[in-house]
């Protein structure tokens, strides 16, 4: 079943500039979808449109077959089902304590008592219960990211919209986020992720390359086999992919593990 259906969607900034033009796109239930593209390509706007935070200038967006309208903005059911992880955790965290921030969504959904209970549970599940009483301002970058993830997952969303979730994180925290996404994938949640991170792209079932319009749609492997497209999308080609290209090997490895196997095979011959 389709979770999202975008039909010829365009969005114009109040300044008159077009952020997106004629985007048609579908998101299947349970799939992990990566959206990639250069800076300023309208990717964040695309997520905001999907979360009914802004309305398209032209075209229409369907969520579970129903048209998204101004009313969707304040629709309880929609807000519970769809979670949005913003790129900058600072804009998500501004209560006096982390617990209050995490409880913000659940309390509005289920009332104070149940909401607070849910928030505590979620902090425990993510292993950050010790942050509950801390002020968001005093957290490190990685702690902020984890707290902002808890804000979203405390509402038990079925669809996750993630804006550059691994950006600005060091290795350990990046791994935490990647594991999180893997576990959502395992639970068959729908994940739409905007990213530059190659490790994340490799996790996706499908990739869209966007630069105001859609330039490509396909699997990560297909994407990496087309260097000209990667260049147009202003993406890094993964080093091991470049290595294979230069060695003239036709296969496209998606991970170091795959590359090791292929090369071992070749070296043994």
């Amino acid at each position: 079943m389709k979770v999202y259906e975008l039909r010829n969607v365009s969005y114009r900034y109040p300044t008159g500039e077009w952020a997106l033009r004629g985007i048609s796109m579908e998101v299947e239930r349970g799939e992990t979808l990566a959206i990639v593209g250069p800076n300023g390509a309208g990717k964040t706007t695309l997520l905001k449109l999907m979360d009914a935070l802004v309305m398209p200038t032209e075209g229409e967006i369907l969520f579970e077959g129903k048209l998204i309208t101004e009313d969707t903005m304040t629709d309880k059911e929609f807000r519970r089902k769809v979670g949005f992880l913003f790129q900058n955790p600072d804009v998500m965290l501004f209560s006096a304590t982390v617990l209050e921030d995490v409880a913000f969504g659940p309390v509005h959904l289920w009332g104070k008592e149940r909401g607070l209970k849910r928030a505590r549970e979620e902090l425990r599940r993510l292993g950050i219960e010790k942050l509950a009483d801390r002020h968001p301002y005093s957290l490190s970058g990685g702690e902020k990211k984890k707290a902002s993830i808890a804000c979203v997952t405390a509402m038990e969303p079925e669809v996750l919209l993630l804006d550059e979730p691994t950006r600005d994180l060091d290795l350990r925290n990046r791994n935490f986020v990647l594991d999180m996404i893997r576990s959502w994938k395992g639970e068959r949640k729908t994940v739409v992720v905007v990213t530059h991170d190659l490790r994340l792209i490799r996790l996706a079932d499908r990739v869209y390359v966007v630069n105001k319009e859609i330039l490509f749609e396909g699997t990560p492997r297909e994407l990496f086999s087309r260097p000209e497209l990667i260049e147009r999308a202003n993406l890094d080609v993964p080093e091991i992919v470049r290595l294979f290209h230069e060695l003239g090997i036709n296969e496209i490895p998606l991970s170091v593990g795959e590359a090791v196997e292929i090369l071992r095979g070749l070296l043994q011959r």
Binding site: A96, H135, P136, Y137
Partner: protein
């Protein structure tokens, strides 16, 4: 609370320009107390004050009501800083927004940049120091009294027009003062009180060191 061009007669406008000259002089002199590191900070905080003032609600019979960041800046830095900030904010608003006016600029600065922060700040100081009232509550009450006083002063400025020279704001004091005061007593006042108290509470809780900054600035 912004009084546009054409609401106040030429005499009133000139009067407030004269009043403001020594006040601006004093405020600009005060700036010299700032450490070099606090000048960029005040620039950013003025931008902040500008944003806080963006929200306008029309008030019947008066002009506009909105939260003014004056008391917040007065409490967090100094009432003189609020005067400088609000002078800049009102200038940008008058030039780019048509919010407020050019002939009425000095009067607007007097209401929102002098009366409001000084009344708000000294109310807060009086309550928290003499009565040992909680700082957060004092700040809220200060903001409330500050904004209502400023609105009343604006009401008086508008209300004396028929007595000075007809053809400007037509309503006498008995109409204009209650119109401005009541609007701020019941709408902008409570909003300003809650918002100011929340900000002070929030800053105290999350960055108590910023409260320490005040003593440096007043030096």
């Amino acid at each position: 609370m912004h009084i546009p061009d054409g609401y106040l007669g030429p005499y009133t406008c000139a009067f407030f320009y004269l009043i403001m000259i020594p006040i601006w002089y004093k405020a600009f002199r005060w700036l010299k107390n700032l450490k070099p590191s606090q000048v960029p900070l005040l620039g950013v905080l003025t931008a902040f004050a500008f944003l806080v003032m963006m929200y306008n609600m029309p008030v019947p019979g008066g002009t506009t009501a909105h939260i003014v960041g004056g008391t917040i800046i007065a409490i967090l830095i100094s009432p003189w800083a609020a005067t400088v900030s609000l002078s800049i904010v009102l200038l940008i608003q008058a030039l780019f927004f048509g919010d407020g006016g050019i002939t009425t600029y000095a009067a607007n600065v007097f209401n929102m940049g002098v009366v409001l922060p000084f009344v708000g700040y000294y109310t807060y100081k009086f309550l928290s120091e003499r009565f040992k009232l909680n700082e957060v509550i004092s700040a809220g009450i200060g903001a409330y009294i500050g904004i209502v006083t400023a609105a009343t002063v604006a009401g008086i400025e508008l209300g004396i027009q028929p007595y000075i020279q007809p053809g400007y704001c037509p309503y006498p004091l008995r109409v204009s003062v209650p119109a401005m005061a009541i609007a701020h007593l019941v709408t902008a006042g409570p909003a300003a009180a809650v918002v100011t108290a929340a900000v002070v509470w929030y800053v105290k809780k999350s960055r108590p060191d910023l409260f320490a900054m005040r003593t440096i600035a007043r030096g």
